[in-house]
Symmetry: C2
C-alpha cells in the first residue's frame, strides 16, 4: 500500500509547457490530466489542488480543460474555509474548487460530468474576477434529499417504499437516512446521518409537486416502523398522500450549495448542468456581474429533486445579473430570488447604532463598509425614514455590528427599524428560461435595479413572480423601481399552495398601508396566462405605478378547478397609479 | 428605548485609577463595576469585553475583581472565535471571557456566581500565560441536559414526569427539549432545540447512576406521546427503569465546555465551582502547567447533572498537571482523562507521510510542528515501531496533514499505523480528591510522565482507574511509564457497567499480545478497597512491571452482589514483572 514518489520529470515538463503556452499566446491552457486528475472513478480532489495552484501562478488568462469524462471528488483532501453563505448554512466547508483570489480563469469541462461525494462543497468563488464555468455537469453521488413511493395512506400514517438510491434505517422508532457505501469516503455509511426537516408530496407521473400539496414540517424526524423489504410506515399527524405519489424528505440544511460566489466580479456560467446539491445551485453575494446562460438545474436518473433549495439566488449584488435560456426544474425552492439585506436596529446612541443580522442564514453576511450610504427603513411600515453615511464598522460577532455615522441618526429611527446599504442596484435580465416542477414560487423579484422578465415559460406551483421584502422575518430587502414583465407564458401556475396570485406581492408591511409604497413602476404586457380556474392573476398592495396591458388569458383544464367563491382576477389594495387594461 | 451616551468622566477616572494602581504596586486591580458590569440580572457580556481590553492594555499583573454577587452573561454581545477543542465539539463559538494572548491575569470572583445563558462558551484561554481563576462559581441558566422522573415502566416504554426546569414539547410524535423563557436571549424559546443522544437512569435518592444502569443510545430523539400535565410516554426498545428513578437525557454535543485552555502556560483554578456546562468542565490542550485545586464540579439545585461530559480532561499537555482537593461529582463522564493524540498514517512516500486525525472530536487539533520528534506506533499492536523528526508540516484540512521527516520513514511503518509527538510528558499529581456519582469511570491514566494518584476517594460506577490508549478508535495516546496509586479509598466502585475491574486496563491492542507492553511500572500500595461483591480488583494485559502491596479489602453490602461464577480478584494476561502481594 506504500506509495512511492514519482519522478519529477513530468512536473518539470508541465511547468515548461505552462510557461511556453503563457509566453506564446498570452493565454495558458491547462490540461488537468497532466496534473494527475483522472477520470477513473478515483478521487481527483488532491490533483485539482495542483491544477488550481498552477492556474494561480500562471498569470494571464488561464483555461483549465478537463478531457471529456467523468470525474469524482471527495472531501478527504479538500481544503477548507469557513464560509458564510447567505440563505444557505454557514460553516467550515471542505471545498473542492476553492477559487479565493483568482482572476481570469475558465474551467471548461468539455462535456464532462463531475460527481461529488459526501459532505463537500463543489465550488466557492471569493475575492475573484473574470471566472468562467462552462461545459460540465455537477451531480451528487448520494443525494441530500430522500424519496419514498407512497403505497398506502391512512389518517396519521403512510406506508412508503424507499428506493435503493436512498439508504435508510429505522433506529429506535425513528426513520434515519444514512450514507451509501462509497469507496471514496472514509466514514462508515451506517453512521452517516442525512437529516430531513419536512415531507412534500410529488406527483410521480407529472414529476412536479402534487396538486395543492403542502409542506409537512417535522421535529427531528419521522416516528417509523420498518416493514418488509424497503417498506416503512411513517407517522405524521397531518399526512394525507395519494398512493403512487412520491414523498420527498427535504434535506434539513443548506450546507453545500454547488456554486457560492462572494465578493467577486464577472462570473459566468455557460452550459453548466446542476443535477444535485445540498443547498442552492448558484448563490451570488456581494458580487458584480453574474451571468447564467444555457444552464440547467434538473435531476439525474430517476430522482425527483435537483437542488435541495433555490436554483439561483443573488444577495446584495451589483452590475448585472443575467439569467438567459436556462432550464430550472425540480429544485426544492424558487428558481431565483434577487434581493438585498436589512439589518435590524438594536440600539441607537447619537451617531452610533448597534445593528443585527436577525435571520440565522444571514449571520456573518458582510453588509456594511465605511463610506457607504444607507437607508433607514420602518421595521413595520417598510417606509424609508432617513439616510445616513457610515464612517466606521465594528464587527462584534457574526450577528452584531456597531456602526458609526457621519451625522447623528435621525430621531425618526427607532430600535426594531431596519437599515440597508444604498447600492448600485444591479440590472436584472431574466429571459428565455423555463421554470417548472419545483417547490414554491417561480422567481422572487426584489431588486431596485432595472428588471426585465421576458419570454420565459413559468409552470410554477406557487406564484410565478413574487415581490417580497420585509424587515421582520426574512430581512430581505426588496422593492422594485422599474420592472418589466413581457412576453412570458404563465402556464397553469399556482396549482400549489405558495402564493395568492400568479403575480403576487407579499411584502412584509405591517402598518402605514395608506402611505407605504414599497414596489414601484411595474409593467406587465404581452404575456399569456393559461389558467385552470379562477385564480387571481394579480394580487398587489402598497404599489405605486403598475400597468397591465395586452395580456392574454386562456382557460385550460390542466388541473381540477378550485371552488373560488368570489373570483377576482385583480386584487389591488393600498396602491396608486394602477392601470389595468384587459 | 433609545440609549444615550454616558459621560466619559467615569471612564477617565477608571483609566487614571488603573494607571495609578499599576504605577504604585506593579499590579493593577480592576473592579469590574467600574466598567459597567452589573449584578442586577442584566447581561454583563458587553461590559466584560471592556474589562478584558483594559486588562490587556494595563500590562503587568492584573487582578480583575468582581464584587461578590450574581452576574449573568448571554451570547448576544460575545466575541466569537472558531475553536477546535479536543474531545469536545469544534465550531464557531461565542465566548464571554475570551482570553487570547493574555498574560498575568487573575480573575477573582470574590465568591460570586456567574450564570451563563444560551449557547455560549464561558471561558477560552489561548496563547496565554499565568492565568488564575479563583473564587467564583459557573452555572447554566437552562441546563444542556434534561431530566424526567420515571412514573411507570413497561416493556418498550416508560412514562416520565418532566420537571419545570426542563421545558419540552412533543412535536409530531417526538420529544423535543426547548429553551426556557429568558429575557436575556433573543431567540424564541419554543424554537430552541436542546438535542439529546441517550438515556441514562439515575437513582434519585442516592443521586448516582442506578445500579448496573447502562446508556440507551438514540437515533434522533425519542418517539413520544404527551400525557396530562408534564407527563410523557417515551419509547425505547430496551428501556427498563425503576419507577421513582430519574432518566437523564444526555446532551447530544459538547459545544460549550466551561474552560477551554489551549496553547497556554501556567493556568490555575482555585476555589472555582462548576455547576453546569454544555461539554466538559476544564479542558486543557497543548498547554503547560495546569493546576486545579479546591474546586468543585457539582450540580446546582435539584439537578442530577453538573457537566455534560468529563469534569476535567488534558490532551498533549506538558509541565505538570495538578488535581488537588477537588470534588468531582455528577458529571456525565469521567473525572479526568490525561492523554496524547495519535494521528493515523494514511500514506507514506519516502520521507513524507499523510496523517489523519480520525476521531471527529479531534479534528483540527494542532498536533505537529517542524523540529518535533515523533514515534510511529503499530496501529493494532500499539508497539513503538520507529522514531522520526519532523521537518515540515502542511495542513491540508482539519483532518489531514502532510508531514516531511529528516529521514525516510522506516519500512516497518505502514498505512493504518499511528504517529504521536514525543513530548515532555507532564508530571501528574492527583491528590485528595473525591470522585463520585458521575457516569462511567473515575479517572483515565494515559500519561507517560510521572503519575501520582494519592489519597483520593473513588466512588465510581465503573472502573475507578482505567489505563486506556488506542490507535484505532479514540486515537488517544496512553501508556504509563511510572505510576503510583497510593493511599486511596476505592469505595464500592464498579456498581455500573463501565469497566471490568476497579483498576482496569483497556488499551486498544489487537495483536502481538505476547510482545506488546503498553503500560509499565505501576505501583499500587496502601489503598483500601471496599467491595460489595466479587468484582475483580485488577484487570491487566500487556503490562510490564506492576507491584500490588499492602492494600486492604473490606466487604460491604452497599449494593446487591452480582453472581460472579469464577471470582478472580486479579486478572492478569500477557504481562511481565507483576508482583501481587496481598
Amino acid at each position: 500500500m506504500r506509495k512511492y514518489k514519482r519522478t519529477s520529470m513530468k512536473k518539470l515538463l508541465v511547468i515548461l509547457l505552462v510557461a511556453f503556452a503563457n509566453f506564446s499566446f498570452g493565454k495558458t491552457e491547462i490540461n488537468v490530466a497532466d496534473y494527475g486528475v483522472k477520470g477513473d472513478g478515483s478521487d481527483s480532489t488532491a490533483a485539482v489542488q495542483k491544477v488550481l495552484a498552477a492556474a494561480k501562478s500562471a498569470g494571464g488568462d488561464v483555461v483549465i480543460k478537463f478531457p471529456k469524462g467523468r470525474y469524482d471528488f471527495a472531501p478527504n483532501y479538500a481544503p477548507e474555509e469557513y464560509l458564510f453563505i447567505s440563505n444557505n448554512d454557514e460553516g467550515l466547508k471542505r471545498i473542492v474548487f476553492n477559487l479565493n483570489g483568482y482572476e481570469n480563469i475558465t474551467i471548461d469541462g468539455q462535456g464532462s460530468d463531475f460527481i461529488f461525494h459526501g459532505f463537500v462543497n463543489p465550488f466557492s468563488v471569493k475575492n475573484s474576477k473574470n471566472i468562467n464555468f462552462k461545459n460540465f455537469s455537477v451531480d451528487v453521488f448520494r443525494p441530500f434529499h430522500n424519496e419514498g413511493i407512497v403505497l398506502e395512506s391512512s389518517p396519521g400514517s403512510i406506508v412508503v417504499e424507499i428506493p435503493e438510491e436512498y439508504p435508510f434505517e429505522v433506529q429506535e422508532g425513528i426513520l434515519k437516512f444514512i450514507g451509501k457505501p462509497d469507496p471514496l469516503l472514509w466514514d462508515d455509511p451506517k453512521k452517516v446521518d442525512i437529516p430531513y426537516r419536512s415531507l412534500l408530496e410529488f406527483d410521480t407521473k407529472r414529476r412536479e409537486t402534487a396538486y395543492l400539496a403542502r409542506d409537512y414540517w417535522l421535529n427531528k424526524g419521522c416516528p417509523a416502523e420498518k416493514l418488509d423489504g424497503r417498506k416503512v410506515r411513517i407517522r405524521h399527524s397531518l399526512a394525507k398522500f395519494t398512493p403512487g405519489n412520491t414523498v420527498v424528505f427535504q434535506y434539513q440544511y443548506r450546507n453545500h450549495p454547488t456554486f457560492a460566489v462572494s465578493k467577486s466580479e464577472n462570473v459566468n456560467f455557460d452550459n453548466v448542468t446542476i443535477y444535485g446539491a445540498g443547498g442552492m445551485g448558484i448563490l451570488g453575494q456581494n458580487s458584480r456581474d453574474i451571468r447564467v446562460r444555457n444552464c440547467k438545474v434538473t435531476p439525474s436518473g430517476n430522482r425527483m429533486i435537483s437542488c435541495t433549495a433555490d436554483a439561483t439566488h443573488f444577495v446584495n449584488c451589483e452590475g448585472e445579473i443575467v439569467l438567459d435560456s436556462n432550464l430550472f426544474e425540480n429544485q426544492m425552492d424558487d428558481a431565483t430570488n434577487i434581493h438585498g439585506i436589512y439589518e435590524q436596529i438594536v440600539s441607537i446612541d447619537g451617531d452610533t447604532a448597534v445593528t443585527r443580522l436577525v435571520h440565522p442564514q444571514q449571520h456573518g453576511f458582510e453588509t456594511f463598509e465605511a463610506g457607504q450610504k444607507v437607508e433607514f427603513v420602518g421595521g413595520r411600515s417598510m417606509k424609508t425614514l432617513a439616510e445616513g453615511k457610515i464612517t466606521s464598522v465594528e464587527r462584534i460577532n457574526n450577528e452584531l455590528k456597531r456602526l458609526k455615522f457621519a451625522e447623528p441618526v435621525s430621531d425618526s429611527v427607532k430600535p426594531n427599524d431596519a437599515i440597508a446599504v444604498i447600492r448600485d442596484y444591479p440590472e436584472i435580465k431574466i429571459t428565455n428560461n423555463t421554470i417548472r416542477r419545483n417547490r414554491a414560487r417561480g422567481m422572487l423579484l426584489n431588486c431596485r435595479g432595472k428588471t426585465l422578465v421576458e419570454n420565459n415559460l413559468f409552470q410554477a406551483p406557487g406564484a410565478a413572480l413574487l415581490f417580497e421584502g420585509d424587515s421582520c422575518y426574512w430581512f430581505e430587502q426588496g422593492g422594485v423601481r422599474d420592472c418589466t414583465i413581457r412576453g412570458n407564458t404563465f402556464d397553469n401556475c399556482r396549482f400549489g399552495v405558495w402564493g395568492k396570485a400568479i403575480i403576487d406581492v407579499a411584502a412584509g408591511i405591517k402598518e402605514d398601508f395608506e402611505t407605504s409604497r414599497y414596489n414601484r413602476n411595474i409593467l406587465i404586457e404581452n404575456n399569456t396566462f393559461n389558467v385552470f380556474d379562477d385564480t387571481p392573476l394579480l394580487n398587489i398592495y402598497c404599489v405605486d405605478g403598475l400597468v397591465w396591458r395586452n395580456n392574454k388569458v386562456n382557460k385550460t383544464s390542466e388541473y381540477p378547478a378550485r371552488d373560488i367563491k368570489k373570483p377576482e382576477p385583480f386584487i389591488i389594495k393600498h396602491s396608486d397609479n394602477i392601470k389595468i387594461d384587459n
